[in-house]
Symmetry: C4
Subunit: 184 residues, 4 copies
């Protein structure tokens, strides 16, 4: 499968999306975790995020898209970053992502077709198969690629999320609205 | 547009430059931010800088160029680094970069033609379109490239700023003056 | 020797593996160490780990493979990460890796043919020559490559461990068992 | 100039080397500095080092080569790392590298021909032109390359120092002595 990849129906699928859920490690980050033991046995796990991704998330909110995080790990860095970016949904420490996905879907009262999911590894597969638009970063594991409607040009933490968001915003015909602000 | 790219008039434009303003994330850094929650709800945001860029900034000051930072984010790392490099202008947390650009231009009493701006993303576009010399790092977003007179060979945080500074210093015929010190 | 590389008998060797021992730096990490001096002369050494490697280690345990770390350095990050991943053996600060390897082999009561060793540098060579399956990441030193049955596609800290684990699990015919959980 | 590059007389020059002096940023590191402001106005500057480089430095000491650091910056990480690696000379904060180089040469009582210097930028040029063997990492600035007898395959912080050390040890016919320990 070539990379980047766009399925024939990806654009049509993107048009219907109202909520985008992101796995964190390998998607919003490059998959690296910095582990620093703290005092009293505490363990701190830190991550780095990409500023161009952050700008894309701000654009997405500006055109009315809803955003959320759904990850199996737990990190203070993620809470802080998600809050800064105005994410509506923050689900960390999910042991079964599909269960959490379904809980979210009921909360937001949307159909699967209105939800995009972006993940890079096998545990994301049940959500990728359920969501209306399945997106993988360039570094996606081989076994999930065939289930993705979009494989981005960039890898996680290096612009994959920005790629995905621009694809959706352009498909919905709202990119000119973003550009207008900067071309005034 | 090929990369690196130099517009036909880039050298002429560079000759007139007296002040260079830099966006930070993705330009002076690789766009990665390390987020570490502190005590009492404080959030610390750390960045890594490139030493070869720093050497270039020292060279620029040595030949009389004035330097400044203009960024939308706020980070203690940036204040420290900018101070170390003797930057004259440090504007962080700018909500509207063009407004801040115009405030700076009045402070330094220069014309747009005497100012170079280096940025990588859409929010830099108004300043890139106003400044006499518009520079983007290799990692610049697609939509701003057509407005740049110079796209550097290296990416942000990996030598893009050094590339830009050497281009300007050479265009002004002052590179031999830099080399002389090390060839004595 | 081409890269990635698989020796003609690598698959047969992988079938017999019951325990996999990993060097840390350059294998489970990209070989970078962040050194931060602490108070009272203490020195803290931090490393970053890869989440996709971690998922692979979880898969390995799920199909009954036993896991261990054998490294010459000592770092709090490693203890924390190895514990999180449920590693059975954690040997840090080993001055002679072959001695430590033999101690481990006696503890677990396995033959060399049942042990895989993954390392990237010369000090790993005695263990690579002894273990039933010798694995090097893509960044392995030139002088150890000829002793490896498998050179992975990815470099250390960027998926090399995941590559190695998938190779073993597939060779043992247990990959479908992993996939089944996510295709249910 | 092709990269990696070896001058016709590089091997002969390497045979005479007894002391190797290294610049730090961009040579022993990838040129990235992590800046973290501390309490009471203190500024901490952290760097990451490469473990494979460290192994090479241990090999160099084992065959009798003397090692030192000569850098213009000052960082606690460097002191700790240099001490760990048993470096004989640690000169940080040098404002004029040639002056410091000459001071070191007198201390160790060696001729220029017996000293190798490895650096990546213009401020290293006076030392590179003076030392018997001038080495640059793959990321060396364009203007210093013509003065180097050896440009390594890898970049700083990603194996450049290991490349340089192996070249010298092999030129001196002592690599078999290193390998013997691991092939016993």
């Amino acid at each position: 499968m070539p990379q980047p990849y766009t399925s024939p129906d990806a654009k049509e699928r993107a048009k219907r999306v109202e909520l985008i859920l992101f796995d964190v490690d390998g998607v919003l980050t490059d998959g690296q975790i910095l582990i620093i033991p703290g005092s009293n046995g505490a363990v701190h796990e830190y991550k780095t995020f990409n500023v161009q991704d952050g700008v894309g998330l701000t654009f997405a909110r500006r055109v009315g898209l809803r955003l959320g995080i759904l990850t199996g790990r737990t990190s203070e860095s993620v809470s802080v970053r998600a809050k800064e970016l105005g994410m509506e949904i923050i689900e960390q420490g999910s042991l079964n992502k599909l269960d959490t996905y379904q809980k979210i879907r009921e909360q937001v009262n949307l159909a699967d077709a209105q939800i995009a999911f972006m993940g890079d590894d096998l545990q994301d597969l049940p959500c990728l198969r359920r969501a209306g638009l399945a997106i993988g970063p360039a570094n996606s594991q081989q076994d999930i690629r065939q289930y993705c409607h979009l494989i981005t040009e960039h890898t996680g933490g290096h612009g994959a999320v920005r790629d995905a968001l621009e694809f959706i915003i352009r498909a919905q015909g709202k990119w000119d609205q973003i550009m207008a602000r900067y071309l005034a």
